[in-house]
Structures are given as structure tokens and as C-alpha cells.
């Protein structure tokens, strides 16, 4: 410190008279709250208020750029009578279920493969994460062109091997479109599962495997009785995250299919977007977006019951 250069006389500690205000701000709880209030206010204004305003909007008949009128639950009743809404519910469940299961199984496999010693491990891991890093919209555009029925490699290959000619319209057929969306979602989400589960695997002590091997456990036994139980907390958290964000997905569908063909791939988010931004029905759109909460809460509760690791 530069204080060593000063004459000693200057450095005599002068007991500064701590003012009442100063002592007040030095209190642990006061300091903490002074620190925390600005970000909390920011989040209340830009998350809390919009959330409440969204609930209010869902109770209004509110055309864009005009004043709304309170209509009570009419929007939700309209949703319940809207066949597209129920199609959206079904689509979202199918999309979330298959994408999550595939990512979970694939990610676990990937983590187990990666949990071996090999050359270039760090490089491979860095490359593996690319789908997760690169802006989703941009990589999804590439997928759209991969799945193009006429000029893309998938169908060229099918034609080349005489399996199909001219080849299926991957995004034009209801079932194929959903399948394509799930594949692209898995492509993007697998690295997150793989890397996180790998980090989980690396915290498992090798001694446990050695002990199990000495007790005569096979590779499969070690996986089922050592790896899986110890990995359960990580799997639980990763899946929880992934389910929430898959359930509320927007980008993939918006870029690849815009909900088509014939609403076969509309999810809550894209349908709410179409109603609010396309048709200008802010109230109806808000009600569809809010309707995503109960099923999502149900899934989370169910997952907590069946997957939550015992704390004891």
C-alpha cells in the first residue's frame, strides 16, 4: 500500500465520528436491503408487473391499439371451445414428452461415452456444445434447408438409394413435421444434458466402482446400482429445466413451420403469438399463454414426486 510512503505522523488513526446514518447503513440487514432493492425493483417492474398485467389482459376483450373491456373468463371459455386450442395442448405434450425422453436417454449415453479417457477430449467437448451456443434461429434455418424436400441432402439420399422419389415433404406432413421439430430440438438440447450429466458423472468417486467390482458387480449392475442413483439429483434438475423450456418453446416452431401444416405443430407460445400479434387479439392471446401454466405446474409436481432424490 502507498501508506508506507507517508510520514508516520499523518497515519495516526483519527477516530472518525461515525454518524448515525453511517452506522445505520453499516448494519448487516440494512446494507443487504439497500443492495438488493434496485435489482428487485427492476425485476418487479419488468417481470412482476407484466405478469400481473398479462393476467389482467386475459380477462379483457382487448384488440390491439384500442381500449379493452372487461369480459371476465370469456377468453378462457372461448379457448375451451376452440378445437385448435386442444390441438395445441396435445401438440405441446407430444413435443415435450418425446423431446425430453430422447434428450435424457441420449444425453446420458453421451455422458457415459464421454466419461472415458481419450485424446482430444476437450476439443470434442467444445465442438459438442456448438449447437447450444450458436443462435438457435440461425441453426434452425440451416435445418430447414436440410429438410427441404427438393434440394436437400436427406431427400437426395433417399432418391439416390431409390427408397423414395421424390421423397417426403418433411415439414409439409403433419406427423413428419412434428417429428422433424423433435429431432431439431434434440439436436439443440442434447449437449446441455450431455455436458451437465458428464460433470455429474465426474463427481462420482472411482472407489465406489472399484468396491462394486470387487463385490462382483457387472458393468450393468454398476450402472444401475452406482451410477444412476448418484446421478439422480443432476438428472432431476436438468430435466426440470429442459421440460420448462421445451414446453414453452417458440423459436424452433416459428422458424420451421409457423405452427403448420394445419396447426399440427402449433405450441402454446406460437399460438398465443398468432392470436396476439397476428390477429391482434391481445386478450385472447394472453389467455392462451396463461393456460400453459396449469399443465406445466402439473408436470413439475409429477416430476417432483417421481424423480426427486430423497434428501436423507
Amino acid at each position: 500500500m502507498s501508506t508506507t510512503a507517508l510520514p508516520a505522523a499523518v497515519y495516526v488513526p483519527v477516530p472518525r465520528r461515525a454518524s448515525g446514518f453511517r452506522r445505520w447503513t453499516e448494519r448487516e440487514d440494512v446494507f443487504s436491503w439497500l443492495m438488493i432493492i434496485p435489482p428487485v425493483v427492476f425485476l418487479l417492474l419488468l417481470v412482476g408487473y407484466p405478469l400481473a398485467y398479462g393476467v389482467w389482459l386475459s380477462l379483457e376483450n382487448r384488440p390491439v391499439a384500442r381500449a379493452g373491456t372487461f369480459v371476465g373468463l370469456a377468453n378462457f371459455i372461448a379457448d375451451a371451445h376452440d378445437p385448435v386450442f386442444w390441438q395445441v395442448v396435445q401438440n405441446t405434450f407430444v413435443y415435450t414428452f418425446f423431446a425430453t425422453v430422447l434428450k435424457m436417454v441420449g444425453g446420458l449415453g453421451l455422458a457415459l461415452v464421454m466419461n472415458q479417457d481419450f485424446k482430444f477430449k476437450n476439443t470434442v467437448r467444445a465442438l459438442m456444445l456448438l449447437p447450444f451456443i450458436v443462435p438457435t434461429v440461425l441453426s434452425t434455418i440451416a435445418w430447414m434447408w436440410i429438410l427441404d424436400p427438393a434440394f436437400a441432402p436427406v431427400n437426395w439420399f433417399l432418391r439416390y438409394l431409390n427408397i423414395a422419389n421424390p421423397g417426403p415433404s418433411w415439414l409439409g406432413n403433419a406427423h413428419l413435421a412434428m417429428m422433424s421439430l423433435i429431432i431439431v430440438n434434440v439436436w439443440r438440447g442434447l449437449p446441455f444434458y450431455g455436458i451437465t450429466l458428464l460433470a455429474g458423472l465426474q463427481t462420482i468417486s472411482p472407489e465406489l466402482y472399484e468396491a462394486a467390482t470387487i463385490d462382483g458387480a457387472s458393468t450393468w449392475d454398476r450402472f444401475v446400482y452406482v451410477t444412476l442413483p448418484l446421478l439422480k439429483p443432476v438428472i432431476y434438475i436438468v430435466t426440470m429445466f429442459s421440460v420448462i423450456f421445451t414446453f414453452a418453446d417458440f423459436q424452433l416452431v416459428y422458424v420451421l413451420t409457423r405452427g403448420g401444416p394445419a396447426n399440427a405443430t402449433h405450441l402454446f407460445a406460437t399460438y398465443a403469438f398468432d392470436l396476439a400479434m397476428g390477429a391482434g387479439q391481445l386478450g385472447l392471446g394472453a389467455s392462451v399463454a396463461l393456460a400453459m401454466l396449469p399443465p406445466l405446474a402439473l408436470i413439475i409436481v409429477a416430476m417432483s414426486i417421481y424423480m426427486k432424490p430423497n434428501k436423507s
Binding site: 435489482p39 428487485v40 391481445l282
Partner: protein, 282 residues
């Protein structure tokens, strides 16, 4: 580590085969971007020829992208927005994480719960009311609209990650500084925060990639070409009606991905640490 048994044959089945297959699946879209962006239109739209190679590579799509569209403006906007919103999020993230991780005060459990809950609020729940709020504030088609809203996605994440990091720092240095008469603010800025640089890099790099990735708010708030970000610009302006400018789209996808990939490559370890924070307790 597992006991290594068997020769190259076992290893190729257990390691190289699944890894190789997965890497092809992972990297193919990037290869396809690159190949497409270099093809002349005569090759792009010829369904007879093998599509995986370029016969007569050309930079025409790149030149067109850079001269005929606002791609460079979009790139600058994306960079600006991501940088500012990351900076805001780090500052607010520290202001939340420091007291939550290092202090005792009434209400801390509630705030910690609130931060976690905010992180899990799905974005589609907010975009309709936010669109209305932003337009009534007159912020439509300004970068301010996304600079204000992106931190709502990033702050909870930064706070959470930093809390984990802050908890791992021993208390002795702070205690010593306090005994020597430093105020709480001085202790925080001069003693504590400098110890946490790796935590800031992790949170910052993660927040930055998230901000570059954001699409929904940008799509709704930014409708003029000169304020758009790369993802929105590419989708909105390189697709005209039913006409897709595939060459330019792929060039844009590649050029838009490269800066993120380069920044990421310098900080892979920090990024992985950020990704796995929270899920894995070391």
C-alpha cells in the same frame, strides 16, 4: 475412472463409433451452412447433382449479403445489445448475489426464492403484456426496448450462478478487512469482488450468448430494418413471402454464428462451469 480392458476393438465400439456418429449429427448442419453459402444458384437449385459438395465455389452470396442487406448493422446491433444487457445483468446480479450469499438478513429466503422463480418464468408468458407496455412507453423500434427486457432473462441466471461462486470464497479476508475498519462497501469492492473474476467470466459469457440468442422479444419489438438483430433480420428480410434466399440465409447463419463461436472458444471452461452450475454441486 473405469478399469480399461480390451484393445482397440473394444475401444472403437465403446468410444469412437458412438462418438463419431454423434459428432456427424452435431456438426453436419454447420457443414451444410458452409457448403450452401458457397454454391452458385445454378448448383443450389439443381436437384440432380450430389448436394454435399460445391463444384464451383463462389463468394457471391457473402458479397450480396454484405452489400445488399443491412447485415452489418444487424451484427452491430446484436453486439451492442448483448454487451449492454450483459453488463447491466452482471451489476444487478452482484447486487443480488452478494447479500444473499454472504449476509444474514430477514427476508433473504424469500428473495432467493423469488430469483429462482423469476428464472423459471417462461418467456411466452410475458411477451404479450410486454409488447403492450413497450409500445405504450413509445419504445417500439428502439434498441432500448430489448436492452431493458433482456436483463430480465439474464439477471436471475447471473445472480444464481454468482451466489454459488460467492459461497465458495472463504470468509477470512473479508473479516480481516472489516476488523481493519473497512466499510461493508469497501470490503465488497476492494477485497471480495476481485477474488471472483472467474465467476464473472462464467456468468458474463453465458449471459452474452443468451442475449445473442434471444429471438422472441426482438421479433416483436424491432420491426424496422436499422434496429434489428441478426436472428430477426435474417428471418424477416432474407425470406420474402415464399421466396427464401438460401445462399444469403446460409451465409448469414454462418457469419452470425462465427463471432459467438469464437468468443465461446476462448472461454469454454468458464462456459461449461456456468452451464453445470446449479445442477452439479462440486
Amino acid at each position: 475412472m473405469m478399469v480399461e480392458r480390451g484393445g482397440w476393438r473394444v475401444k472403437s465400439v465403446r468410444l469412437w463409433l458412438p462418438l463419431g456418429a454423434y459428432m456427424i449429427f452435431t456438426l453436419f448442419p454447420f457443414y451444410w451452412m458452409a457448403v450452401t453459402s458457397l454454391k452458385p444458384n445454378s448448383e443450389l437449385y439443381n436437384r440432380k447433382i450430389m448436394p454435399l459438395i460445391v463444384y464451383h465455389p463462389t463468394f457471391k452470396h457473402y458479397v450480396d449479403l454484405l452489400t445488399e442487406t443491412n447485415f452489418l448493422v444487424w451484427t452491430w446491433n446484436t453486439f451492442l445489445v448483448a454487451t449492454i444487457s450483459t453488463a447491466i445483468s452482471l451489476v444487478f446480479g452482484v447486487m443480488l448475489a452478494y447479500p444473499l450469499a454472504r449476509m444474514r438478513f430477514a427476508g433473504s429466503a424469500l428473495i432467493a426464492f423469488g430469483v429462482a422463480a423469476t428464472y423459471l418464468v417462461p418467456q411466452p408468458l410475458l411477451f404479450i403484456p410486454l409488447a403492450d407496455i413497450i409500445s405504450s412507453l413509445g419504445l417500439n423500434d428502439t434498441l432500448t426496448s430489448v436492452i431493458l427486457t433482456y436483463p430480465t432473462l439474464l439477471i436471475p441466471f447471473c445472480a444464481w450462478l454468482l451466489m454459488g461462486y460467492f459461497r465458495s470464497v472463504p470468509h477470512e479476508l473479508e473479516d480481516a478487512a472489516r476488523i481493519d475498519g473497512a466499510t461493508r462497501l469497501q470490503t465488497m469492492f476492494k477485497v471480495f469482488l476481485p477474488l471472483c473474476t472467474p465467476g464473472f467470466i462464467s456468468a458474463g459469457i453465458f449471459a452474452f450468448t443468451l442475449a445473442q440468442n434471444e429471438f422472441l422479444y426482438a421479433l416483436i419489438f424491432l420491426t424496422q430494418t436499422d434496429v434489428r438483430t441478426v436472428p430477426v433480420g435474417a428471418i424477416a428480410e432474407l425470406v420474402k413471402g415464399d421466396v427464401f434466399y438460401w445462399g444469403q440465409l446460409m451465409a448469414a447463419a454462418l457469419l452470425g454464428s462465427v463471432p459467438v463461436a469464437i468468443i465461446y472458444s476462448f472461454f469454454v471452461e468458464h462456459y461449461v462451469a456456468g452451464l453445470t452450475a446449479g445442477a452439479v454441486k462440486q
